[in-house]
């Protein structure tokens, strides 16, 4: 039963979020104006898109609810446990460090930090290997993009 819940619930949450989002967006779309005959307003496409999301999201949500009783247990590998959710959140946190730091620290330190963090998050046990690995990645990308292709990598106090 727990597994059935784990499978059905996220579906309904996504449909609920999207349907609510579309319902809310109908009003600003109308405010933008749908236009008139021969002259369409800037609110028309967002209005049509919102209606589409609303209709399809509600239909999918209702059909998911109706299927609930018939849904069998999902395959074990489809259900994410607490550990996996935490790992995913950790990886996203590491990713978010890059745009947070790169504005003032420049390319090198945030890239070192993120590549090191990602290496640790995905299974390197020791400290030495991820450090060497992150230095190599940072240097290699800098050489390719910064030196070879002369692209403007983010600059800050460290670069």
């Amino acid at each position: 039963m727990k597994k059935i819940k784990a499978r059905i619930k996220p579906d309904l949450i996504v449909y609920g979020i999207l349907t609510a989002f579309a319902a809310v967006m109908l009003f600003p779309s109308l405010d933008l104006g749908l236009g008139e005959k021969g002259n369409l307003g800037p609110g028309l496409l967002p209005f049509i898109a919102s209606i589409c999301i609303l209709v399809t999201g509600s239909t999918l949500g209702i059909s998911s609810l109706l299927k609930k009783a018939r849904a069998g247990p999902s395959p074990e590998n489809d259900v994410l446990g607490r550990k996996e959710w935490l790992q995913a959140a950790g990886i996203l946190f590491i990713f978010s460090l890059w745009p947070l730091l790169v504005g003032f620290a420049g390319y090198i330190w945030p890239t070192l930090l993120v590549s090191f963090g990602l290496a640790k998050a995905v299974g390197y046990k020791s400290w030495k290997q991820p450090v060497i690995f992150s230095v190599l990645i940072t240097a290699f990308i800098w050489l390719i993009f910064g030196v070879l292709f002369h692209l403007d990598l983010p600059s800050g106090f460290s670069f």
């Binding site: 967006m25 236009g35 590998n77 692209l151």
Partner: protein
């Protein structure tokens, strides 16, 4: 000037050192991208987009296209040798290709795959070269109603082709179309859904969204469910010879696959994936040795590998003729051209003959380079696929961050990419198709422009559409298309996937 003379000039342009170098870099990079699980042509092209600006429109186009079709070659190598499809379109090749490797026929499978890809790619380029100019000329007679009809057909096709549930496809397209409206409206000049954030005024670019949906979501997926690289079967160059029986059994599937791919290439969405699955189903149903399928039937390698390569080339036709990208990677090519103030469409070939014919010639060269490079270097490329996910993830992660940043040199795009990565992970986990979301974002603006122009043109009287036979014919194709895909196409595709 005749087509042959234009092509000759094209070869002279394509063989210029800078263009040739871009072709070489593009196909090698594309092969590597195809080999690596987790890194697809979308992310690679997004990263190469700012680089392409430095080398002019033709060199940039050659580079980006090289990555695209090179990825199809690379994907098959790892499917055959290590049972890891580097690309979605190579998934079907793992079924027969890896079984052939287990039976000691890896060399034959790789050779047939490479030759089939070369033949199909070349056939695709010939069709592109022959049909694009007259189609573009015909498209000159298209007015806004015809373009609107094509857009509607594309939207319907995308929703029906994506996944098992067309409602999910429609939901994703609508979401993409909504996101495309964020920013300053180009005609009315008003802000739409910008929430007072200055960066939102420029809109949400589809590249960081695509990198997030596919790249970051894939990084998370790989981290949570890492694959175990299988041991690499070494293949020597002298082993790359199929025997007479294998050659005989491959010829017709290669030809058939090439034509199937050519047809599917013109469809919106993921033409290479659909073409390879359909080709596999067709080969299986037509083969006199059906019992060998699933145990290393060479037809199951020859057909799909040819199909995905011709589909990739032909997917460029709608972009070059109409200026409408029907696949996310075509949208990236469009973005690459627009960065040079070049707009593909009916006038593209007339106004930029050296770019078009140079591009066609570079595709011939790239296809040849792939054949020449891939067979001798097959062991090297396959070794890349045996890298463990924990080595790949930090590299892919940093490349995604840079790819998103370099799109417009804005950190806002990196945040958009991370948000898209979160959404992509959840949506993918719940079985939502992601390609329609990207194409909804790309096509949303074009649809809106055409809808507005058509409404003005018809002065709001849509009954006047009845006086436009081409638009009517395209609109009439919509129900026929739905019927065909839902009844015939799905049956073929499903049987291939199930097997």
């Amino acid at each position: 000037m005749s087509g042959i003379e234009y092509l000759w000039d094209g070869f002279q342009v394509a063989l210029a050192p800078a263009n040739f170098l871009m072709c070489l870099v593009g196909v090698i990079l594309g092969t590597l991208v195809g080999v690596l699980p987790g890194l697809g042509p979308i992310e690679a092209m997004a990263i190469m987009l700012p680089i392409s600006i430095h080398y002019g429109p033709l060199a940039g186009l050659i580079l980006l296209a090289g990555v695209w079709y090179g990825a199809q070659y690379g994907g098959s190598t790892t499917s055959i040798l290590v049972n890891i499809p580097g690309e979605a379109s190579s998934v079907i090749t793992t079924i027969e290709g890896y079984q052939m490797t287990r039976k000691g026929r890896a060399g034959a499978a790789l050779a047939v795959s490479a030759v089939g890809s070369f033949f199909a790619g070349t056939l695709g380029i010939v069709i592109l070269q022959l049909f694009t100019p007259p189609l573009a000329a015909a498209a000159l007679s298209f007015g806004p109603p015809e373009y609107l009809a094509i857009m509607l057909l594309a939207f319907v096709a995308l929703s029906t082709l994506s996944g098992d549930n067309p409602f999910k496809g429609t939901l994703m397209i609508a979401l993409g179309a909504f996101l495309s409206t964020v920013g300053i409206d180009r005609i009315a000049g008003v802000q739409r859904f910008t929430m007072g954030i200055p960066n939102m005024m420029y809109g949400i670019h589809f590249v960081p969204v695509a990198v997030g949906l596919f790249g970051i979501a894939e990084v998370i997926r790989l981290a949570l469910k890492p694959y175990t690289p299988t041991s690499l079967k070494s293949v020597r160059f002298r082993e790359l010879y199929p025997n007479r029986e294998e050659i005989r059994r491959s010829i017709i599937p290669i030809i058939r696959g090439s034509f199937i791919g050519s047809l599917f290439g013109l469809l919106p969405g993921t033409p290479a994936v659909l073409a390879s699955f359909t080709s596999y189903s067709v080969e299986k149903s037509l083969s006199p040795k059906k019992e060998e399928f699933g145990h290393g039937a060479i037809e199951g390698v020859a057909g799909p590998e040819s199909a995905n390569n011709s589909a990739v080339v032909l997917a460029l036709v709608p972009l070059l003729c109409l200026g409408i990208p029907f696949a996310p990677v075509a949208a990236l090519l469009l973005a690459g051209l627009q960065l040079h103030n070049i707009t593909p469409g009916p006038l593209f070939i007339q106004e930029n003959p050296s770019i078009f014919w140079g591009f066609v010639a570079a595709m011939y060269l790239g296809n040849f380079l792939l054949l020449v490079l891939n067979l001798p270097l097959v062991g090297l490329f396959a070794r890349v696929a045996t890298l463990r996910p924990r080595v790949l993830i930090p590299i892919i992660g940093i490349l995604c961050l840079l790819g998103a940043y370099m799109t417009r040199m804005a950190l806002f795009d990196v945040w958009v990419m991370i948000a898209a990565g979160i959404a992509g992970f959840f949506l993918n986990h719940l079985g939502f198709p992601l390609i329609p979301l990207i194409l909804g974002m790309v096509l949303g603006n074009i649809l809106e422009d055409n809808l507005r122009v058509t409404t003005q043109w018809l002065n709001g009287d849509f009954a006047l559409l009845l006086t436009r036979p081409i638009a009517l014919a395209i609109l009439a194709l919509i129900p026929i298309y739905i019927l065909f895909i839902r009844l015939a196409g799905k049956k073929v595709l499903r049987s291939g996937i199930k097997d």
